[in-house]
Symmetry: C2
Subunit: 536 residues, 2 copies
């Protein structure tokens, strides 16, 4: 099943590495057939070339539109070396064993904003024909479509004395059809646009079978998006069990929650909502304050950091504590880097997944897709925190002194399922999510959940005798943020009764006026952000 | 920009409609070039044919692998009728103005479970070359790839005296590249599989720009999945404003919530969670009981039905009530059909969207995709309600007498974000979601939310003097269902204190034993379903 490469056709738009490859083929005794610019580059390098016209019997014609397509070339690629040998000989067709071809750079000229005629001229016809013909006949023919594959080709040739195995040729074949599929996918969507049609093609590869999906009766696969410069798929697992479907979903939420924060930040995710989030100068303290946001739910959670994970931080989990009840079990830790000491410590727990991924490597503009029963909702990512921060009450509030805390809170709310309410505070120099309410049909319930969580957390940290006074004093320092406008003043009344003195919301309700009046009456400041953050 | 079709090349794998089309072309004075089976079919019909070999100068060769590919055919398709006219004449190339070609049926043989060699033999090489060459040169050449397009071609030819407009040719071009892209997409994924790689290609079309996405600063588009037999995209809007991104998301949730129910069923969705759900013999009563599940959140909701929507049902919304405060404003109503009377009534509200979609038309097995920052999680839909219904307590419970109510409750929980708890009851012959808790990091909070909602709803329906007695009596009739196992007995204690006497959960915790013991102590029955229903 090994075939020697005796005759190769080289026709490339991207000349990178082609001379080196051709030299190696020549040294192996391989005849080189070539076209136009490729032929010139090889000749200039002193390599003997068979001009394609000699094989086809035709001239290059029509401004280069016709170079390779011919009965002779495609027959040389397509005929069955066993079944059709006599017929080929009678027709004077000599086999071509290798095609090295890359296509007119349609994607590149599109990206450069070329005009329509230039785009059309950059649709390659001869190239895909050769590539597909060679790929179809992979039992006898090898095809390479990208300079990045030359190294593997050269290695295989050198390991096998100038021959290639059927297994390698089959791999190249699969790659070739993926290449032509990608090529036509982009042309198809571009040309659809030219006639006013909006089409979208998404391609995914490297599918890894997961143990199961969201639940054990659902099969699942994790893919990398083809061509994505950065992908969650590239996360690196340093330790622990295989990631589950739900782990991956939560890791994504965790990474989103610590992106684009200036200071060391820690997010704690449970069922895809951040239940803990804190940011400040020290990573260990950020973890401690994030954990304090929901110390019950934090057990079995996914925790992300935006800075190199340190031993002093992970010791918080007490994984080596002789008293097992003191150990804090979590499912996954994600960070951009980790010190060897921190990793060694986390390895105390054999199942705990330690994952490397840099949250700030993700571009801000990745689109968001929702697949719904044979349809797709596509949208831009939600990347604008706020339009403005306008104090709309007569109740005073120094907005500029709290912009960082408001931005921190809105960033949190962007990750929480609607209706969402967060209550954030500045505490010991840290920004902390003190309580949140998520996923409720009724916004008032979310507000109540957030306040209840604050109460619980403040009780945990208070060791004095007058908790109610402490509660009101702390809540007065907090800012309550809503993902969408308040349709009625009831949320304001509930918040005010719990001590809240500042509320941030997008505004835009027909009842804004009565909501603002209620704030003024109750001594609450209200800031309009102008930007809603629904998330479902 | 009109070009007459004087010379056409017909080479089709699917012969449907080809003779009729050829006859019309012939009547218009067009020369017909054809190959193999197509040529035979046309000759048999008495049409004069130019055999392809006459044009190419080559025989059909290599078991049919080489038929059309040649310098002559592709030149005739590709040369620029203006710029290259003299060169074409010198090379004796006569233009071909129309290609009618459909490809070897790779998809069909794949579906039929063909072996690998048959699959490879069904990769068309000549067809895509002709189609792509003709499409590239659409300024002068028309290309048709599917029998379903013949009618439009014939109409255009007859309207334009045997010519085709540039606009039509450009449309055909876009279609042609979509066709070859789809063709290679399927080959690529199949061939990737053959070398142990798992790839996935998704294609979407008919993109409609929405006003905005989840929020007004996000651009959004709604697409139909290419080739989907049934798609949410096909919903029909009978009345009201344009659907928003969030409307479509919620319509999907609403439809999922009323699928596969035997009796008239109504679901009320708010922020993608069903907050009301009821099922019974009368549609109007189903709406009334669904609404009673969360009468506050139901305002501004999306409501779905699984049966023809009747006037007697929609009158519940009181849209024509002189007292505006009595009118129940909702965003969207979805049903498989609607009576003219019901539609006329709903049109009282000019903005209310009335949408037709049959929830039972959706196949049960559509996959679920989650796009996460350059990666994709793919999984089977969650279609299994339960594995078993095993009573695991000594506390007795007649499971078989309540299977319908348990199935109804589990169906609801499948649509609610985790952690989720539902409390369902059989009431006046209807199955009703009386309370639910959604989207909480801590399951105990979901249980509390569900119980609180039950209390509110029971207060609404009770007009007597001993509410607590009524509450406990009603709760004792209810079943509480959890989407996942209870890690501790605390949920059982909370439920039991509120009167709950039956709990259904998947089971599978290491502490199942202590949870069951707690049930037995408190006189609660517990049923294990064996099937978890996380949804995020």
């Amino acid at each position: 099943m090994f075939f020697p490469i005796k005759r190769a056709l080289l026709s490339v738009s991207d000349k990178e590495g082609i001379v080196e490859l051709a030299q190696i083929l020549h040294n192996l005794g391989c005849e080189l057939i070539s076209t136009g610019g490729t032929a010139k580059a090889l000749s200039d390098a002193g390599l003997p070339i068979t001009d394609i016209s000699k094989v086809t019997g035709n001239p290059e014609a029509f401004g280069g539109r016709m170079k390779t397509i011919s009965f002779q070339i495609e027959s040389a690629l397509l005929f069955d070396r066993d079944r059709d040998a006599a017929e080929a000989a009678a027709l004077n067709i000599q086999p071509i064993d290798l095609v090295v071809c890359n296509l007119y750079p349609f994607a590149k000229v599109l990206q450069q904003g070329a005009d329509f005629d230039t785009l059309v001229e950059n649709i390659d016809i001869g190239g895909p024909t050769m590539i597909r013909a060679a790929a179809k006949n992979f039992k006898y023919v090898a095809v390479v479509t990208q300079p990045t594959d030359y190294a593997a080709l050269i290695q295989q040739l050198s390991e096998n004395q100038g021959s290639l195995s059927i297994a390698f040729r089959q791999q190249l074949m699969a790659k070739a059809f993926n290449h032509t599929a990608d090529y036509d996918a982009l042309i198809a969507t571009t040309m659809s646009q030219s006639v006013g049609q909006n089409a979208l093609r998404l391609s995914f590869e490297q599918g890894e079978t997961l143990r199961y999906g969201e639940n054990s009766h659902q099969k699942a696969t994790f893919y990398r998006q083809t061509g994505a410069k950065v992908s969650l798929f590239d996360l690196e697992i340093l330790h622990g069990k295989q990631l589950s479907f739900n782990n991956i979903l939560d890791i994504n939420g965790a990474i989103q929650s610590v992106r684009q924060q200036n200071l060391p930040t820690c997010a704690i995710i449970k069922h895809n909502n951040p239940c803990g989030l804190a940011s400040g100068i020290n990573q260990a303290a950020a973890l401690e304050w994030a954990w304090a946001g929901d110390p019950i739910s934090a057990f079995g959670s996914i925790i992300a950091f935006n800075t190199t994970l340190e031993l002093s931080t992970v010791e918080f989990f007490a994984l080596d504590n002789a008293d097992r009840s003191k150990r804090k079990f979590i499912e996954v830790v994600v960070a951009p880097h980790i010190t060897p000491q921190a990793l060694a410590y986390l390895q105390h727990h054999k199942d705990l997944r330690v994952v490397l991924f840099n949250p700030n490597s993700l571009p801000a503009t990745l689109p968001d897709y929702r697949f719904l029963n044979g349809s797709l909702l596509a949208q831009d990512a939600d990347t604008v925190l706020f339009d403005k921060l306008d104090l709309v009450t007569t109740t005073p509030f120094e907005v500029t002194a709290h912009t960082d805390l408001i931005a921190f809170g809105i960033h949190a709310i962007c990750q929480i399922k609607s209706n969402s309410i967060v209550i954030v505070r500045r505490h010991n120099g840290y920004l902390q999510l003190l309580g949140m309410g998520a996923g409720q049909p009724n916004r008032l319930v979310s507000t109540r959940l957030a306040i209840d969580k604050c109460r619980e957390n403040l009780q945990n940290e208070y060791h004095g005798t007058d908790f109610e006074a402490y509660f009101m004093e702390q809540m007065q320092q907090c800012i309550l943020i809503s993902d969408a406008f308040f349709p009625f003043a009831d949320n304001v009344e509930l918040a005010a009764a719990s001590g809240i003195r500042c509320i941030v919301q997008p505004g835009g309700s027909i009842r804004d006026k009565s909501v603002i009046e209620c704030c003024n009456t109750l001594g609450v400041a209200m800031v309009f952000s102008g930007t809603r953050h629904f998330k479902h």
